[in-house]
Symmetry: C2
Subunit: 215 residues, 2 copies
C-alpha cells in the first residue's frame, strides 16, 4: 500500500492537472489502486486531526448508472472509472472520535497520555460549543483539503479527475439511504481522460492579494 | 514567476508535510517567493472557475504582532515567516466576475464567445438562486482546495506550514477593517521549522470507505 518506490514531479502534476469531463469508459481502476490514492489523500490535515472524511466509492457500472440522473445526466459519472462521493461525519467532532484517534497515537508512541487528555478535553469544549452550521463549514474545509490531495495523487498516477458539486444531494441521499450524521461535501470523478481538458485562466496573484494589513 | 525548472517529488512532499507549530523567527521569505507559492496554489480548481480566493499576507513583524492576541497567543503567528489569511469574496459568485475571468479565457483562445455566454448565464442562474449560507459552504470548500495546494507548494520549496482556524474572526475583521463581502476561511502560517513536527496517525481507508452504494 505504500508509495515509497513511486516518483512523480510535483510541479508537473500541479501544472498538468485540469478538470476533465470526458473519460474512457473501458478503463478500469482496481479497488487496491483506489485505496492507495485514498490513503495518500488522507495524509491531508483536518481540524484537530479528527479525520471526519467518509467515502462512498462507485465502480460498478450498474451503480454508476444510478448516479447519472442524480448528477443531471453528466456523462462522466458513467464513463469515469470511479466516482468518489466525499462525505463528512458530523460525529467525528466528538470526544469519542478524538479519543479513538489519539489513543492510536499514544499506542504508536507519538503522543503521551497527558497530551491525549488535553486534546480530548479541547475537542469537548471547542466542538461541543459549536453549532451545526459552523461544523458543516469545517466539514467543507476539511473536505476541500482532502479532495485537492486526492486529485493530485490521482494525477501522479496518470489519472484525471473532476470535482463535482452539480448533483442532487437530496436524490443521492434518498437513493443510497445516507445516514443523518453524514453530510455531503462533493463528488470526484476519476479515470482515464478520453479527450483533452480545456485550458483555463486564473486571476493574477496581485489582483487578489494585499500585504501587511491593507485591504 | 514560473516554476518549470524546479523539481520536487510528489510522494516525498505528501508524506513529509506535517503541521508545524515552531518556526525560526529569523527566517525570511521574500514577497516574490510568497507570490510564486500563491500562484501555484491558485492552479487549484474552484467552483465554475470563479477564483473566489482573496489573500491578506502578513510578513511585517509589527503587523504579525497584531495577530498574536487575535490568534489567542499562538507563537507561530509571530515566528513564522508569513501568515496567509485566506478569505473568500462573496462577490465572486456573480456574472460580472464570471465574465471578467471568462473574457480572459476567450482572449487567450481557450474559450469561444458562445461557451462564455453559456457559462455566464449558468452562473447567474445557479449562484443567483443560492442562499448566503450555501455560498459560504462553497467558499470553505474552494478555500480548502486552495489551502492544500498552498501547503504542498510551500513544502516543495522546503517550507513548513500549519492550517489554523483557532483565531477570533471578529477581532481580525475589526482590526483590519475587512469588507463585508470577504468571508474568513482559514489562516496558514508558513516558514522554516525550528523543531520537529509531531507524527500523527490517520484512520484506515477501510474504516471510512464503502463500495458501490453500501453505507
Amino acid at each position: 500500500m505504500k508509495t515509497e518506490n513511486r516518483t512523480a514531479d510535483f510541479y508537473d502534476i500541479i501544472r498538468s492537472r485540469r478538470s476533465v469531463r470526458t473519460y474512457d469508459s473501458s478503463a478500469k481502476m482496481t479497488e487496491g489502486e483506489l485505496k492507495e490514492i485514498l490513503e495518500e489523500a488522507m495524509l491531508a490535515p483536518s481540524g484537530t486531526n479528527l479525520n471526519p472524511w467518509r467515502f462512498m466509492v462507485f465502480t460498478d457500472p450498474a451503480e454508476k448508472a444510478k448516479l447519472f440522473p442524480i448528477a443531471f445526466g453528466q456523462q462522466q459519472v458513467v464513463d469515469a472509472s470511479a466516482i468518489i462521493v466525499v462525505l463528512g461525519d458530523m460525529n467525528a467532532y466528538t470526544v469519542e472520535n478524538a479519543n479513538r484517534i489519539n489513543q492510536r497515537a499514544v499506542d504508536a508512541g507519538y503522543m503521551t497520555d497527558e497530551v491525549k487528555d488535553i486534546i480530548n478535553n479541547g475537542v469537548e469544549n471547542y466542538y461541543g460549543s459549536a453549532n451545526e452550521q459552523t461544523k458543516k463549514e469545517w466539514q467543507m474545509l476539511d473536505g476541500g483539503l482532502l479532495a485537492m490531495q486526492f486529485m493530485l495523487a490521482a494525477k501522479a498516477r496518470g489519472y484525471d479527475t473532476i470535482p463535482m458539486l452539480g448533483y442532487s444531494i437530496e436524490q443521492f441521499r434518498n437513493e443510497f439511504n445516507v445516514p443523518e450524521n453524514l453530510v455531503n461535501i462533493l463528488m470526484i470523478a476519476v479515470g482515464k481522460a478520453s479527450g483533452p481538458a480545456y485550458p483555463t485562466v486564473r486571476l493574477g496573484v496581485d489582483e487578489v492579494t494585499t500585504w501587511n494589513g491593507v485591504v
